[in-house]
Amino acid sequence: MAIMRPFWPTRDSSVVGELDRMRRDMDRLFGSLSGRSFREPVAGVFPLTNITEDNNNYYVRAELPGIKGDDLDISVTGEGISISGERKIPEEKKDASYHRREREAGKFSRMLTLPGQVDTGKVEASCADGILTVILPKAETAKPRQISVKAV
């Protein structure tokens, strides 16, 4: 029984390695042609979220056009927040013909970790004009404490 051997030498620096490099380059080229930028949003998860803080609270904000408070499901644990819901776009009449269709509908669910502990009992969330704002008061242990320096 003959043992099958590749026709070309198998050292990686030669043909096979070349083919591998070529394949990676082609992938990269076609990737950029298909319109997906390499710089995807950090987590690639909807909705994009901003977290800010001041001395007393963390603030979590997300842009959710077309979504009311009732459509959202927000839950908080000691250090994390989860935001879920569904964006629905009402169906238009049968005879509507679209010139452009850029908005998307669908479900979303996202969990974020906060930089410190929060007081889960005092969290407030509001949704106005398509912007969700969640105010999470920091737990006492997470608030900065001024330490006075004694002069010796």
Binding site: A43, F46, P47, I51, S97, A105, K107
Partner: protein, 136 residues
């Protein structure tokens, strides 16, 4: 699991534009995503403009160019510091060329939950009229 589930929404980066005409206040400008569809009676435009309130919305129509503009105030308070930022806030602007078939005096606008709905009825002469064919 039965039936078809709604597909999961994917995050999209906001489309920033550089316009020829500068805004009076510095800040980023974004293109809102729109759906435009046409029925027999008119054209409807739906634009996602989260953060825009009715008083900051500007709809302008000149020489058959429709401009929708919405200012968005920065939502962060002065003492807030960024921990994690995935999107920037800025005003929205987009322009469209309207066909002459629109009755420009009857355009209606509604802004709800950050979604602008513009209803643009076609002018009377542009509504297709059914013509009955008599048997001869």
């Amino acid at each position: 699991m039965t039936g078809s589930e709604a597909k999961a929404l994917e995050a999209k980066e906001k489309q920033e534009v550089s316009t020829d005409v500068e805004q009076t206040r510095p800040g980023a400008t974004f293109t809102p995503a729109v759906d435009i569809f046409e029925t027999e009676t008119g054209i409807t435009l739906l634009a996602d403009m989260p953060g825009v309130k009715a008083k900051d919305l500007d709809i302008d129509l000149q020489k058959s160019v429709l401009t929708i503009k919405g200012d968005v105030p920065s939502p962060e308070g002065p003492s807030e510091m960024d921990v994690f930022r995935e999107y920037n806030t800025g005003s929205y602007i987009r322009q469209f060329a309207l066909s002459d078939a629109i009755d420009q005096s009857k355009i209606g606008a509604e802004l709800k939950d950050g979604v602008l709905k513009l209803v643009m009825p076609k002018a009377e002469k542009a509504v297709p009229r059914k013509i009955a064919v008599k048997k001869g």
